[in-house]
């Protein structure tokens, strides 16, 4: 049976037709690349995903990592996967040639990661964290740290992590208490606890390199006193050999999903012999870490969309093959049953999945394209793209994560009772996707980031650019008679978003920040629907043009399917903006003013 977890055709549509990544080759950084390279890169990613990663999906879920004699043991396939990602150049894909990268646009690299994650999400945690950590070292580390650590990480030999969270400090990183004490030896002595650290220890890597936030003794309180340290599991002796660095694994957690990747609790300095190497300047750690966090947030959105993609294709295949019931209009029991895809309600569920999956992927690739475009030497343009990326990152992280949960749930629903059982992958996808609304900043935190920071930053400049970008698509769609009703709807939603934003910001201006941000998550939801509708309309424009220009029957079917899915999004998801806006305009502080005691009944 052909196992399908992504659509190659859709990836090409989004990369080449909608986001036009070939135009990036005009920039010196990407000038060696062309569609021919991208196609070959995608071919290879598809092959690796299918042959090397997908076959272990289920087993990695069933045989979760274990802690044995202080060492976490992961599924043996991880070693081969890390090796391939390293030797094949996937970890360094978008990094510069000088460090062994291939300067691939992040849009293309992300498309490949999407393919990998759709095949086996858990296994992508290892190399993606390693890539982010290595990038952090290369951006802010000393030459010594760069030379010692980055090459081995990019080769897939050593694992990188982000070690932020502590038992008492998750969302609120300013409250971390891990301590760093300066020494004369060119290192700091680290003491503290970190919790939930992904890939924080395992036997598929020769060493683990933690990018760890800690506070230097005597530094300023809160976020301004956070510094970034490189804390290896094993440090390197003067003879080049490794020796333990007093990092102990206290626990490996049993969890709902994402079971192929170990989540560890770490204890540093139990014997007062844990060395950390300062990255960059003291007290600037959080701002450095934001580079890795922002990359990771896009990666989380991408992973969520990829799981939802795998769930969609599994549900679609099932819906075509499962005979059950008859058309409402023909109840003759002597007639054979029809495949459930013939039922309107099942089609609704499939369309919802498509709406979420393809809308999310398009937004993520849009963000990646902004990131790639921001490499331009034109300073003003570069800032423009960077601002747009900044604004949209919380949306690209949280919409796929939250809606992805619902999309996978609908996929599972399509399989009925079978969806709930282990024989089909849906129940695993449902468990796997749940993490994405939690790690890398919960949805609540993304919402605060969007409304409390991004929308208002630089006097609302990013928001203005966003309105411009969406406005341009609205204008283009308005030229097409079939799309103009949708242009109209998006314009209406955009106006609503503008009004709601003004209303919320008024509270901020009045100094009532509690009311301002009380419903930030609803605001994020409203903002997300508008954003995804924009991405769908952009896809609709391309599809309409292609159909007008004339294309093969197979392509015509693809583009018509796109337009159907776009229409679904506008007719079924779009109207939700009205309800959200109605509530947001009330802004009465209902949740702010309630007492905690009122919950106890």
């Amino acid at each position: 049976m052909a196992e399908r977890f992504v659509s190659r055709r859709n990836l090409e549509f989004l990369l080449y037709e909608v986001h036009r990544v070939e135009r990036l080759s005009a920039q010196p950084y990407f000038s060696d690349h062309s569609r021919e390279t991208y196609d070959l890169v995608l071919d290879t990613a598809m092959k690796i995903a299918r042959d090397l990663m997908y076959p272990h999906l289920q087993e990695m879920d069933q045989k979760a990592p274990v802690l044995e004699n202080g060492q976490v043991k992961v599924h043996p396939a991880i070693k081969g996967i890390m090796k391939e990602w390293g030797e094949g150049g996937w970890i360094a894909a978008s990094m510069p040639y000088e460090v062994g990268g291939q300067q691939l646009p992040t849009a293309v690299a992300t498309a490949c990661n999407y393919v990998f994650a759709a095949a086996n999400f858990s296994s992508t945690g290892f190399p993606l964290l390693t890539a982010g950590a290595a990038h952090l070292i290369l951006s802010y580390g000393s030459d010594d740290l760069k030379e010692t650590y980055a090459p081995r990480m990019l080769a897939g030999e050593w694992q990188g992590t982000m070690a932020l969270t502590e038992p008492q400090a998750g969302s609120s990183l300013s409250d971390i208490v891990t301590r760093a004490e300066p020494t004369d030896g060119g290192y700091y002595r680290i003491r503290g606890q970190k919790i939930f650290i992904s890939a924080g220890d395992h036997d598929a890597a020769g060493n683990i390199v933690h990018m760890m936030l800690a506070k230097i003794k005597g530094g300023p309180p809160g976020a301004k006193g956070i510094s970034l340290f490189l804390v290896p599991k094993n440090r390197i002796k003067s003879d080049g050999m490794l020796e333990p660095n007093d990092v102990t694994v206290a626990t490996v957690y049993h969890k709902l999903g994402y079971r192929g990747c170990p989540i560890t609790q770490l204890s540093m300095g139990e014997n007062d012999d844990c060395r950390g190497y300062l990255v960059g300047e003291p007290h600037k750690g959080l701002s450095y870490m934001f580079q890795m966090m922002n990359e990771a947030r896009l990666a989380v959105g991408m992973q969520a969309a990829s799981i939802a993609s795998a769930a969609y294709y599994a549900a679609l295949e099932y819906a075509k093959e499962r005979p059950q019931g008859r058309k409402i209009s023909s109840k003759d029991p002597l007639q054979p049953q029809i495949p459930i895809i013939e039922h309107a309600d099942v089609r609704r569920m499939l369309l919802f999945q498509r709406g979420v999956v393809e809308g999310s992927l398009s937004l993520i690739l849009q963000c990646c394209t902004y990131s790639d475009l921001s490499r331009t030497e034109d300073v003003e343009q570069s800032q423009r793209y960077a601002l747009l990326l900044d604004l949209l990152t919380p949306v690209a992280k949280s919409y796929p994560s939250e809606s992805g949960i619902l999309a996978v749930s609908q996929g599972l629903q399509i399989l009925g009772g079978y969806g709930y059982c282990q024989e089909f992958p849906l129940e695993q996808y449902y468990r796997d996707i749940r993490i994405h609304a939690i790690h890398e900043g919960t949805t609540g935190i993304q919402a605060l980031d969007l409304l409390g920071r991004k929308v208002v930053m630089k006097n609302g400049q990013a928001m203005r650019l966003f309105l411009e970008e969406v406005g341009a698509v609205v204008q283009e769609a308005a030229q097409d008679s079939e799309l103009s009703p949708y242009a109209e709807r998006l314009k209406g939603a955009l106006d609503t978003l503008g009004q709601v934003t003004m209303r919320q910001v008024q509270f901020a201006l009045q100094g009532d920040v509690e009311t301002f941000l009380a419903d930030a998550t609803l605001y994020l939801e409203l903002f997300s629907i508008v954003t995804i509708a924009w991405q769908w309309l952009a896809q609709g424009i391309v599809a309409r043009k292609a159909l007008d220009a004339g294309c093969s029957p197979l392509d015509a079917q693809f583009y018509q399917g796109k337009i159907h899915a776009m229409r679904y999004f506008f007719h079924y998801e779009g109207p939700k903006t009205a309800g959200l806006a109605a509530r947001l305009m009330e802004a009465d502080g209902l949740t702010v003013n309630m007492t905690a005691a009122a919950f106890d009944d």
Partner: protein, 259 residues
């Protein structure tokens, strides 16, 4: 060690093949093409020989329409050095004899210590090109190869091949033609650096005229058809196990006529 690898681009095994309405071929629109899996074993083996001898060359030879360049490029991205792409309308969709003649003519213009072919291509399943090529070049051949050891002086190879239920080990002088079978190796994936390098590696385009051949096919395909749809199975219910067993045996003997 110079290896010549004959490689065919074929539809991906995951592609749903449909016969075109007039039954003259398959519908090609929307097909994703890949390197014939048996030829991937050949590429891998050739790369390993080059790595083992720390010298030499892996030359890819492919016949096919323009799109076949993708397959050659993929082999170059795996690490092969050069490609020859024979692209000629008169050779597309031709029979194994014509293909073997073209391969032989192209091979005659190159240098090699060994030639690899897949033991068959998964699209038309003829499995003849390798053997015919060896005949035309008057070279010894070993088919269904699962292990290759080349003597240090490169005069002979010790080769393991599949035989019914086991293995046969043969010694063959070089140059020779080997046809690769599953089990020969685990082909590597192309790497990103490999893909970037592959862009700059040469692919020599040739026509039938360049090869000095105007071959006549010996086979003509008259019609293509899909296998009949699988009919529904038969259920044996409401019987005691010994009776079910009897009924199944009878059905297999009398109805299905398979035992």
């Amino acid at each position: 060690m110079k290896s010549l690898v004959c490689l065919k681009q074929v539809p991906d095994t995951e592609t749903q093949i449909k016969v075109n309405p007039d039954g003259t071929g398959i519908v090609t629109e929307g097909i994703k093409y890949v390197i014939n899996p048996y030829d991937e074993f050949s590429v891998e083996e050739a790369l390993r020989l080059k790595e083992k001898f720390k010298a030499g060359e892996v030359l890819i030879l492919s016949i096919g329409p323009d799109r076949a360049t993708e397959a050659i490029r993929t082999a170059l991205a795996m690490g092969a050095d050069k490609g020859i792409h024979i692209s000629d309308e008169s050779l597309n969709n031709s029979d194994p004899f014509v293909i073997a003649q073209a391969l032989a003519a192209a091979a005659a213009q190159t240098e090699y210590d060994i030639i690899f072919c897949g033991h068959r291509a998964i699209d038309d399943d003829f499995g003849e090109a390798g053997a015919m090529l060896a005949e035309l070049l008057k070279l010894p051949q070993v088919t269904l190869v699962t292990k290759v050891d080349i003597a240090d002086d490169k005069t002979k190879a010790i080769v393991e091949r599949d035989v019914e239920g086991g293995k046969e080990t043969v010694e063959v002088p070089l140059p020779c033609v080997l046809t690769s079978q599953k089990g020969l190796n685990e082909p590597r994936y192309a790497s990103l650096p490999g893909i970037m390098k592959a862009k700059k590696k040469p692919i020599d385009k040739k026509t039938a005229a360049d090869l000095g051949i105007s071959p006549e096919p010996k086979l003509r395909s008259n019609a293509y058809s899909m296998p009949p749809e699988r009919t529904a199975g038969k259920k044996f219910e409401g019987m005691e196990p010994p009776d079910v067993a009897k009924a199944v045996v009878q059905a297999l003997r009398n109805e299905a006529k398979v035992i």
